[in-house]
Symmetry: C2
């Protein structure tokens, strides 16, 4: 591409078409900015803005209060000994895997783990053993599966895995496994546990200590109303000297974070939204009630919710045999649902999906959820003769 005036016109400011839609994409519902975060974005948008008063370490900056946020508020929020901000939940996971494991070591992942857990383990050179789930319709994860997996690794490789990970909840079915039991099983074998809470931290109450997780990863842009990419990482006292080790070349810089991570507006939006995020987490029971209400409405229409039932998270997976039937007959084929929802100002079910899809009810409130449920009903009616 020649960079002339004509080709450069493609870039510059670009409008976001989905702005103003009811967005039920699980990636989006927990990442919508608060008003305070929108203000912070503009105020702190410039490149390295937070470094104006930096003495050399991001999380030691006193003004703005990044130090208080990272070293006082975050450990309390995650209920862990030490916390850091990272470039995202996947970067948090990689930092743990890369420091706790050595190339050739093994890691145990739950069968519902996010792809980024696999990729992070692969980048760290770790071999992967998965704990199977029970498959459709529940996708249940038996904590005892971790014992089996750990024993298999020990038998095959001569030593236990370096680390185990559980996804809490997973990003497909929104299932909340018994993480406390899993931690206890892992600890019987002296295997530390990393809790991937990308869909938990910032949405629902979660305590690393109550669960017994040695590490906890969260996502700012997925679930903490922050502008991405930004994540959080909690570490227990026991493993902090390894994961948070400092450079031998620069005594104040932490190796796994390459010195500094969220060095810009991202951390300021996380801080801006934090008071609201703390408050919304206290309101989690209402979110679960909304999710269950929505699930019940869809099931009345003939949809089938897969995964845990009754459901305990806003992220849900549905099977929609009737939508699939329609897609096989209508002119627009499998794109009909996306288009019919778009016409109703609803976004977030991936274009082309009809038979199976996931969605999230988080933060939408009963009124908007009624609009969504009514729209599903309308669409079914529209095609009832097909």
């Amino acid at each position: 591409m020649k960079l002339d005036d004509s080709s450069l016109q493609k870039f510059g400011f670009i409008k976001r078409e989905t702005l103003g839609s009811i967005n039920i994409d699980p990636l989006q519902t927990g990442g919508r900015l608060t008003e305070a975060a929108k203000q912070a974005l503009v105020e702190w948008g410039d490149g390295y803005s937070v470094c104006d008063f930096c003495g050399g370490v991001l999380d030691q900056i006193k003004k703005p209060p990044i130090y208080d946020f990272v070293h006082k508020a975050l450990p309390e929020f995650l209920d862990c000994d030490e916390a850091r901000v990272t470039n995202g939940a996947r970067e948090s996971k990689f930092a743990v895997m890369h420091s706790i494991g050595k190339p050739g070591d093994w890691i145990v992942l739950d069968g519902l783990a996010h792809y980024s857990s696999y990729v992070a383990a692969e980048r760290a050179g770790l071999n992967i053993k998965t704990v199977p789930h029970s498959g459709s319709p529940d996708y249940y994860l038996d904590p005892e599966g971790y014992a089996t997996a750990i024993e298999e690794v020990t038998k095959e490789s001569g030593k236990p895995p370096a680390l185990a990970l559980v996804t809490y909840p997973d990003g497909n079915y929104g299932n909340l496994p018994d993480a406390r039991k899993i931690a206890s099983v892992c600890h019987q074998y002296d295997v530390p546990l990393l809790l991937n809470g990308a869909y938990a931290v910032g949405r629902m109450p979660v305590s690393a200590k109550e669960i017994g997780a040695d590490f906890i990863a969260g996502s700012g842009h997925k679930s903490m109303a922050a502008s991405g990419p930004i994540g959080v990482l909690g570490v227990s006292e026991e493993y902090a000297p390894i994961v948070l080790r400092k450079s031998k070349h620069n005594k104040v810089k932490e190796v796994e974070f390459l010195g500094c991570t969220a060095r810009g507006a991202t951390v300021m939006t996380l801080i801006a939204s934090f008071p609201d995020v703390v408050k919304r987490v206290r309101n989690w029971d209402q979110e679960v009630e909304n999710a269950r209400w929505f699930s019940a409405r869809l099931e009345e229409m003939g949809f089938i919710q897969r995964g845990q039932k009754p459901h305990s998270h806003d992220l849900m997976f549905f099977e929609a045999p009737r939508f699939y039937e329609i897609s096989e007959k209508v002119k627009k084929g499998r794109y009909f649902l996306y288009k019919d929802l778009k016409a109703r100002n609803i976004h977030g079910i991936k274009s082309g999906l009809t038979k199976y899809f996931k969605l999230s009810t988080f933060g939408l409130g009963r009124e908007k959820l009624e609009v969504v449920a009514d729209s599903f009903e309308d669409i079914l009616k529209k095609y009832e003769d097909i």
Copy 2:
């Protein structure tokens, strides 16, 4: 910290005190947002906004035009075969080091390398050999030093280093080494070269191919008028299959980027500013002229510019013996300079520094630079009897 209403008041929206100052911090001058980028921030601020139309890979998103930007515009701009967006220049460097080197291998760094190059090499498990510079006053880097360092590593470890890196320019003196010669020296030993262009890409013309660099790292928040953290990485055809290798667990995801990197507003601000960045790079001669003019004005006042002379970059290092003398006598001590500049609405020389400091003239224009130079003169006059 108990997360009650009183402690949470510390967070939320926080004002940026330095907004509106003339900021001469080298970290800030190239990262100031354009108007288009400010608009993009607000439009795309929500968490995972760019993923609204994602089919699974960030750099394949067609709408917004991330695909065209990453695969067509960026390779042209960097003059390299393949390009990616990353979470920052240091993350670009780590991705290269981690994929090209194996733990225990060696890397050759220039003696003026940024701390993050050391930390990235350490994180990748690489041993470091540095190429010495000539010290004060020039800090000259002899390209032949790379030959010596490579031969030393080969002698000591039995094989050549996995990689060499040169900082172009360095972040202390703003020196531009003869990168083309360095590339040629490295290639004589079949050692690939990574150009750290965090202070070059987006400020001045730089071509990976003309230099002969196998890899080029740039920083969005440092030098491309983007909201951070975001960086760019250019890779040659020869090394692309290694650095950009895909996951064996998820065939579309690239391992070194953990699947996706700048998954939010950061990439949209980079794209928003890109047309202006392309244009400002064409205006580099004027920037160099401004830097030289500023340097000359300060030298007339008795300051001494260290590093290359005549200087060819906006980042400059000054020795200020007179400021140091003053600091030893005035009540405010070494904080006098910071405070006197603040009173004149100038920010960016680190609080407490007087004898040596660095600054940047980039993008300020002659008028603001005159204000800064006049302020230095005023401050000298203010204390002339001390």
